[in-house]
Amino acid sequence: MDLARQAQDGDESAFAEIVRRYSPRVFSVASRFFRQRSLVEEAAQEVFLKAYTQLGSFEGRGSLEGWLTRIATNTCLNMVRSSKRRPELTVSDLTDDEEGWLNQQSAGDGREQASVENSLVAADLADRLLAVLPPEDQQALLMIDGEDASIKEVAEATGWSESKVKVRAFRARKKLREAMEKLLDHRGKPVEQVSK
């Protein structure tokens, strides 16, 4: 709060300290939306420039980190909204790595081999499947299912009501599951593979 007050009074070094201290958090939020470093940096810079001009509206009721997280989320959502949504992913669109990863997972031997490379392939696949969802739904699902955030935490980070978060997450989860089912079906997977 002291830093925020100093920055509100026009102390540039205080604002520089805010940027240094909270940029990992802002980058983490922006990374949910973008994979390219240049886009993440662009978004993060935009967040801090907005924060500087809106410092007067920060009353110190919540944490500065929470306030910045909300600005970051809304800024990234606006950036994503302006970009085109991709069409639904089909099996023919899958890369060899992605198809190999799916086969490995379906055969039940993938969970033990969670290499960095495999994780990146899985992350790429997630990006491609999530691209068909509205950015708000992606955000809700990534936070809840990916980062184990609670409904309340998502509501605080986005400014949405808790019921809105629940609806978005439900809708996104359903759509993602159905898209995954389609991929698995079209791949002609064996039906024997069942959960334990």
């Binding site: 810079q45 420039l49 997972q105 495999n118 994780s119 899985a122 992350a123 990916g146 959960s195």
Partner: protein
């Protein structure tokens, strides 16, 4: 009906947060229901890819702070120009009227007296009498007065 119920459980919450009772219900149901079995597998894979995606985080570079502060100064410089423009817009009526008033005063002070002075007024327009009794003496120069007086003398001598 049963099938719908299972998919609702899958879509209602993250798989990692399902209770043991819910998981057991899914296990029992998927033994006989192929479509729900597929749905459960898809949901599990979806959960795995979401976890992997969430782990991908880009860290800020050491130069990021410098970059932001430079962008901030640049933004402030750009914003200062419109501020000057706004100031000019609000004050331009006052400044313009002051300039017009100053110009009018200057014209009255320097231009009008010069044009009203009869620099090359004909000497014959004045008579010696009018000069002697002081009529229009304010408008005549010393040379004009002298030339008027001597012109009358010359005529009298003839």
């Amino acid at each position: 009906m049963k099938e719908k119920h299972i998919t609702e459980i899958l879509d209602n919450a993250a798989i990692a947060s399902l209770s043991e009772v819910e998981l057991n219900e899914i296990r029992v149901h998927t033994k006989d229901c192929v479509s729900c079995r597929d749905a459960f597998e898809a949901a599990q894979l979806a959960a795995v890819i979401l976890k992997s995606r969430a782990q991908v985080t880009i860290e800020p570079t050491p130069f990021f702070q410098t970059r932001v502060m430079a962008a901030l100064r640049e933004q402030q410089a750009v914003e200062s120009v419109p501020a000057m423009w706004r100031l000019w817009k609000s004050a331009k009526v006052l400044v313009s009227s002051m300039a017009v008033t100053t110009a009018a005063l200057a014209a009255l002070s320097f231009v009008l007296p010069a044009t009203s002075t009869p620099v090359d007024q004909p000497v014959s327009a004045y008579s010696a009498e009018s000069v002697i009794i002081g009529q229009g003496s304010d408008e005549l120069t010393y040379e004009q007065v002298l030339s008027t007086i001597y012109a009358d003398d010359d005529e009298a001598g003839k």
